[in-house]
């Protein structure tokens, strides 16, 4: 084993992005809780967490760029660092989506609760599972887990379309609830985007481990074994 220090630094990079992932994951969890519990305090916590996520993004990028410049990584190490840079951007966007969600929740808190024909918590449960699995595939370097994340994205897309259809009908039949329905529609859309970022992370894990680009519908089978 040579280049021990370099490989220790790669471990450190992984450690740092996982810390960043923890912040982004927690932001989504809190945002969903804020919706379910109509909790303004939780909304404030999510808003306050954004600066930390942004700072962590910059630090991970700087560390990754330093490694690229100083260590000239090759093969799986090169792919790992490139994957980390891309995953880092996705995690920051996950944090942004959490902020978007609580901004909508804060709008909704100014209005009385209403029975909307959309199950946001159910959708959120699946999205959070996707994020968790995407991160697990990264932690374990397991492309099979990543593959399941890619497959799960279709279900989230379907739920988002259903939410759109149901809430559109609701707005036509109940114009007084249109504002709340629009907020719920945005939240569903934000969750669908979180799922897209989880999918991107899973694709990056497959690129890291197998060197295969499975983005934009390129078959997982091309990733080899």
């Amino acid at each position: 084993m040579t280049r021990i220090r370099f490989h220790q630094e790669l471990d450190e990079l992984k450690h740092r992005i996982l810390a960043m992932a923890g912040l982004a994951e927690q932001a989504v969890d809190l945002a969903v809780q804020a919706y379910s519990q109509r909790d303004a305090v939780l909304c404030e916590r999510v808003l306050a967490s954004e600066a930390g996520i942004n700072r962590a993004e910059r630090e991970v990028d700087e560390f990754a760029i330093d490694l690229l410049a100083m260590q000239q990584p090759m093969a799986i190490d090169l792919r790992f660092i490139l994957a980390v840079i891309k995953i880092n951007a996705d995690l920051e966007r996950v944090g942004d989506q959490a902020v978007n969600i609580v901004q909508r929740v804060m709008n909704m808190l100014e209005l009385p609760p209403s029975e909307l024909p959309v199950d946001i918590p159910a959708m959120a449960t699946r999205v959070r599972a996707m994020v968790r699995d995407a991160l697990r595939s990264f932690i374990e370097g397991d492309p099979e887990v990543a593959k399941h994340v890619l497959e799960a994205d279709d279900e989230i897309d379907r739920m988002n379309h259903e939410a759109f259809a149901a809430l559109s009908r609701y707005m036509q039949s109940q114009p007084d609830g249109a504002v709340q329905a629009l907020d719920a529609l945005s939240i569903a859309r934000n969750l669908e985007r979180v799922a897209d970022h989880a999918t991107n992370i899973a694709e990056d894990v497959i690129f890291w481990i197998r060197g295969a680009d499975v983005r934009h519908g390129a078959g997982y089978s091309s990733a080899g074994s």
Binding site: M1, T2, H7, A75
Partner: protein, 251 residues
């Protein structure tokens, strides 16, 4: 794509020790092919077999087929092989007592060329090809090859090899003894030269291999483990041993 050098089941020995265990490789014409691997893996032995330099060691022998331009080099006089397949070594080795001019003209004179005008033309052209002409044109017959800097000496050796118009140029760590600027000049030169001839370069510097070569072969313990396009080798090699070597996990 045209094959410049075809290597089939090439084995090489030093005494009773088998240093190469049956190498197969097709070297593409007018491209650079890098040969990488840890010390003692057989990479220098391999390229020394491509112009029969290996057999200059009395203990050494080689077996198998090496074809240059379709001709088996073991069916040709060794001197003809070395004219068609030039070589540049790690340490620049100009003839120390000769002028710059005579260093470049030495090979031609050895081959019987005596016409002064022809020699002048070839010396100038070779030095231009080696990107050294502008630096030495005023002192061609005044200074010895040994008076030049290390980087200039290496380019002089390249000019000397180019003067006999080889089809293939073998380079055994040509820049490992040079500073970064001289190294960059050699790498630029490789880019120019491979428009017209075929380069096979042994290097310990993997960044250099990735910069200059379209194809790369990874040797380990006398075997060619993997041979592929350079970008494939350095971004997503097929063999775990290649990956472990280039990522520094062993070696």
């Amino acid at each position: 794509m045209t094959t410049a050098v075809e290597v089939r089941d090439l084995k090489a020995w030093f005494g009773k020790t088998e240093a190469l265990h049956g190498i197969n490789m097709s070297v593409e014409a007018r491209h650079a092919t890098a040969v990488i691997g840890p010390s003692g893996c057989g990479k220098s032995t391999f390229i020394r077999c491509l112009n029969r330099m290996h057999e200059t060691n009395p203990e050494a022998k080689a077996q198998g087929k090496v074809e240059v331009g379709g001709t088996d080099i073991y069916e040709m006089p060794a001197v003809d092989v070395r004219r068609r397949v030039g070589m540049v070594f790690q340490k620049p080795n100009p003839f120390p007592s000769m002028t710059i001019y005579d260093n470049v003209a030495a090979g031609l004179k050895l081959n019987g060329t005596r016409n002064r005008r022809t020699l002048d033309e070839v010396v100038e052209h070779s030095l231009q090809q080696a990107a050294l002409w502008d630096e030495v044109k005023d002192v061609l017959k005044k200074k010895s090859g040994a008076s030049l800097s290390g980087g200039q000496q290496q380019r002089l050796c390249i000019a000397r090899a180019l003067a006999v118009k080889p089809e293939v140029m073998l380079m055994d760590e040509p820049a490992s003894a040079l500073d970064p600027i001289s190294t960059a000049k050699i790498e630029d030169l490789i880019f120019e030269l491979k428009q017209k001839l075929t380069i096979v370069i042994v290097t310990h510097n993997m960044q250099q291999a990735s910069r200059v070569a379209e194809f790369t072969g990874f040797f380990l313990m006398g075997n060619l483990i993997e041979f592929d396009k350079t970008e494939k080798i350095f971004t997503n090699p097929s063999d775990k041993r290649t990956e472990d070597y280039i990522t520094g996990r062993f070696g």
